[in-house]
Amino acid sequence: MSVMTLVKAINNALDIKLNDNKDVVLYGEDVGYEGGVFRVTQGLQQKYGVERVFDSPLAESGIVGTAVGMAVAGMKPVVEMQFSGFAYPAFNQMISHVARMRNRSRGRYTSSMVIRMPYGGGIKALEHHSESMEAIYAHIPGLKVVIPSTPHDAKGLLISAIESEDPVIYMEPKRIYRAVKQEVSEDKFNVEIGKANVVQQGKDVTVVSYGAMMRDTQKALAMAKKAGISVELIDLRTIYPLDVETIAQSIKKTGRIVTVAEAPTSFGIGSEITAIANDEAFLHLEAPPKRVTGFDTIVPLPQGEHHYMPSPEKIYHEIEKTAKF
């Protein structure tokens, strides 16, 4: 065991998979020599050489498009989009090929790869550095979408993602890259893709969140505890495929559901979970399912960002209203 941040845990997972599978290669902008702008891949080029860990020219479509070719030919590319906001030149490759190769070739070829990208706001960044667009990827049939909220999960999920035969969009909550520390095993272990984590048992309200918002949600839970509200907290860990069973079971138990995300409200993960509440637990509902999210707006530049990001108070307020409904 050693104390790891998210950055360290991701680096450790990459190290383990580079070591045990010679077909794993790592590339993207600044990931090689510099070790990434967030130092996530630091030291890996030195350890595994420039043929396996390298800087790509500045072209995201190039990064993902070539990864499709590598994957088709049997390699296992793990590529980085420097920020999720700059992934869109590669979006054509993702939606048109990465997500489709298996189905198109009737399983003969796959584009099994991991596309890592830091995402999310609250870091007082320039434009395009704060968005939380996981719903876009979750909406594309053929992609799996994973978002860890702890160093332990970051490591186990990334190892599973690299071992997965399907393409995985692995989104990293950069706001908590170094903010969360945890004892994590240095050995190889997996966290299963598709399984949510019931972080805390409770009986009054189910709260579902993921990524960096887990921290704010836990602060809200401390407030709820003081107010005598018993909350069951679920960390999704995988956005797609959603763990319908765990979510539905919890809603059946509490009859109340609040979802928390920093993405825009409409057509988001919370909307999908609300639909699960309707489909799977309609007769158990004691209150309307509630979404706590950002707005349907561009994430404001730093001076306005506090308006946008759901605060622990706002999360608590909605938990309280839902509990008392």
Binding site: E29, L58, G304, K314
Partner: protein, 361 residues
């Protein structure tokens, strides 16, 4: 000029050596001493503002900022040719051009402090806001070029990209479109040698970046971007080509990013002191100052006085920006659509209601 300096010949265009001596009389631009001095002073102001912004960032008074340090002559030269109605379609490292276009330093500060209001450019005509996604803006410039041609306007569109951006698909699409449409767009590559940590030598196998224009069929030149006179002359020729022939031009301006990629970056991780020193010799301000002092048009004492004056001016505008005030909730919502949809209004009202509840706690 474009023939003599055909990028296939891999010949760098310059006019002035590193000490400010004119070494290429044939292509020395027509420019008066007064105008040269004024240009130098504008470049001084841009550099002063840039360096002070980095130190403001270090003090935590401004957020992430991409320094322009060392690249002042590119804007300095182009500004000599820039007319009020010409367009500037920037990336994010063109401080000198924004100022030349009429953006105020206060607006620049506001933007990097995190107010979208800094992109209003109240006194500037035809200046677009910063475009962060690499190379995407080049296509916008090409579209503007289409409008200029369509309405038979006498305008030139200047647009900017870094060396790394030449690898993006949008760069290639923009060059092709501009050449096919024959629109008056001047594409400027600020080749400052690095895309964050990635050296341009690894970015491409082309012998230079200007040569990428050849296949698309537009004129281009590789110019010493730290040479004010070379930049000025290239700007004149490019503007003439665009304005008179309705033809796009690609300029590769060779320079060096003396600062970091942004204030979040640490260049000591990926480049050597020797390399930095080598470029220090070619610093654009030092060279132009060498020229001016050689002709007795400028001296150290004048420079010191003006530097102090500029320092005060930068401080004044920074303080104005710092006192800009609160960012109202409505400003998050009101510019999203021409009319705010009900669903958005509902979200705003719900948040206001929450804020009231919070006040009561």
């Amino acid at each position: 000029m474009f023939k003599e300096y055909d990028p296939l010949k891999n010949k760098l265009f310059n006019v002035m050596d590193k000490d400010g001596h004119i070494v290429n009389d044939k292509w020395m631009p027509q420019i008066s001493d007064d105008q040269t001095l004024k240009a130098y002073q504008q470049m001084m102001f841009a550099r002063k503002a840039d360096l002070m912004t980095v130190s403001y960032q270090r003090q935590g008074r401004i957020y992430t900022y991409p320094p322009n340090y060392g690249q002042e002559a590119i804007a300095g030269g182009l500004a000599q040719e820039l007319r009020e109605n010409d367009w500037v379609v920037p990336a994010y490292r063109e401080l000198g051009l924004w100022l030349a276009k009429g953006a105020t330093l206060k607006e620049v500060f506001l933007y990097f402090m995190g107010y979208e209001d800094g992109s209003r450019f109240e006194n500037a005509t035809h200046l677009l806001p910063v475009s962060v996604p690499i190379a995407s803006q080049l296509l916008h410039a090409t579209g503007i070029g289409y409008e200029v041609k369509y309405h038979k306007k006498d305008e030139v569109v200047y647009t900017f990209v870094g060396d790394g951006g030449t690898s993006e698909g949008d760069f290639h699409e923009a060059l092709n479109y501009a050449a096919v449409w024959k629109v008056p767009v001047v594409f400027v590559i600020q080749n400052n040698q690095y895309a964050i940590s990635f050296n341009v030598k690894n970015q491409t196998s082309s012998q230079n970046l200007a040569v990428k224009s050849v296949a698309y069929g537009l004129k281009s030149i590789q110019v010493d971007g730290n040479d004010f006179f070379a930049m000025t002359r290239v700007a004149q020729e490019a503007a003439k080509t665009a304005r008179e022939n309705q033809e796009p031009v690609l300029i590769e301006a060779l320079t060096y990013r003396k600062g970091a990629h942004t204030t979040s970056d640490d260049p000591s991780k990926y480049r050597s002191k020797e390399e930095e020193q080598e470029w220090e010799e070619k610093d654009p301000m030092k060279r132009l100052k060498g020229y001016l002092t050689g002709k007795q048009l400028w001296n150290d004492q004048q420079e010191e006085e003006l530097d102090q004056q500029y320092k005060k001016e930068v401080e004044r505008q920074f303080e104005e920006a710092e006192n800009y005030g609160d960012y109202p909730l409505e400003d998050v919502f009101k510019y999203q659509y021409s009319e705010m949809p009900d669903i958005l209004k509902k979200q705003m009202y719900a948040h206001q209601k929450f804020l009231k509840w919070k006040e009561g706690q």
